[in-house]
Symmetry: C2
Subunit: 187 residues, 2 copies
DNA sequence: CGCCAGGTTGAAGCGCTTCAACGTCTGTGG
DNA sequence: CCACAGACGTTGAAGCGCTTCAACCTGGCG
């Protein structure tokens, strides 16, 4: 739990009372490698904080597997679109490695929004971070080539290239594994 | 101002006291067709609510003009990434038509966050809407062809096809005007 | 040891870009 | 009022980068 407390403290002023209310509602969970956290078609009811491990978000379409994103320790992750709209999720969440997570139910998170002094600010700041991430990703898809997107990973997320199988990276940057292999061959 | 009040009321419970605090801080502005609201390189200091008119967000790269988005009446718009990070904006905002807007300074908006009961919830909900929009757009770029993206505009945003010059729609869906022209020729 | 998943490489095809020419409409000045 | 310029869209042709299908290689694991 301390990891979560430290993380929250980086973003907001967290009183002891608020932390008690928060920590009471988060529950430790573990997932094994390749286990599914949330399936497409399910409505997301929980929010996860990653203590250890890597989580992958992906679509399955026509037997094709398209990676949307990866999530690493010290971040929140879930099928956020489904979580907000309470409509079925379009994509899956799976544990790429064994994972230790802390999770909270939607009702409990919304109770925190309303009944702690930092709640709404927390929700806002969390959503702002997601927005900034997606803005950057939109920018990358609109003005960069797949090669440039791959090279960016070296600069900005080298751990990603080390830890993630190439086939997942390929669809993450919007191309096939074969195309990525050829891009790598040309350095 | 009433348009803004109605809009806010659709999303949160707005007390009279809160509305007084909010309406005091918004200021009417007009922009003529082709006028620029925010330039790339500038740091965004205001948030705009559109009462009348259409606003376009676009990059300028190597003398190329790439449209990111359009904003219509009853919506907030600004260079939100720059607004949040207070770093220079990568893109421009321009009035595609004559526009009537209501605008608020960043300091004033953050004062509303802290000093009205609905403030933080408002910021959170507003950001959630932006997140949902960008998620959909990410989805569109990852799993749809340009043709499918264009056809989606008919179903989901027909006003866009009517009101917006084709060259802007082309870059909005990620292709050249020539390619869009050929897609249209094939129905 | 042998299997299988992941990565590489080859060849053909397609959809987009790029450059270029042309048609049409609108607005402006002679 | 007409003539012309400029913006926008369309169409043609060539080129390129990606996809697709396929074969092959390699390392890890049962």
């Amino acid at each position: 739990m301390d990891v979560l407390r430290d993380f929250l403290n980086q973003h907001i002023a967290l009183s002891n009372a608020d932390w008690v209310a928060i920590s009471e509602r988060f529950k430790p969970e573990t997932f094994n490698k390749n286990e599914t956290l949330t399936k497409a078609g399910q409505t997301e009811g929980r929010m996860y904080f990653i203590v250890r491990g890597v989580v992958r978000l992906y679509y399955e379409l026509d037997h094709k597997d398209i990676t949307l994103n990866f999530a690493f320790p010290n971040a929140f992750v879930n099928a956020y679109t489904s979580f907000l709209t309470q409509e079925p999720s379009d994509f899956f969440l799976e544990a790429l490695t064994n994972c230790e997570l802390l999770s909270i139910a939607k009702e409990d998170l919304y109770a925190l929004y309303d009944h702690t002094s930092c709640g709404h600010a927390l929700g806002r700041i969390f959503t702002e971070k997601l927005f900034l991430y997606l803005s950057k990703r939109e920018n990358d898809f609109m003005i960069k080539t797949p090669t440039q997107r791959y090279l960016d990973l070296f600069d900005q997320q080298p751990h990603l290239i080390k830890e993630i199988p190439q086939k997942y990276l390929a669809s993450y940057i919007g191309i096939t594994p074969q195309a990525l292999s050829r891009i790598r061959a040309k350095i």
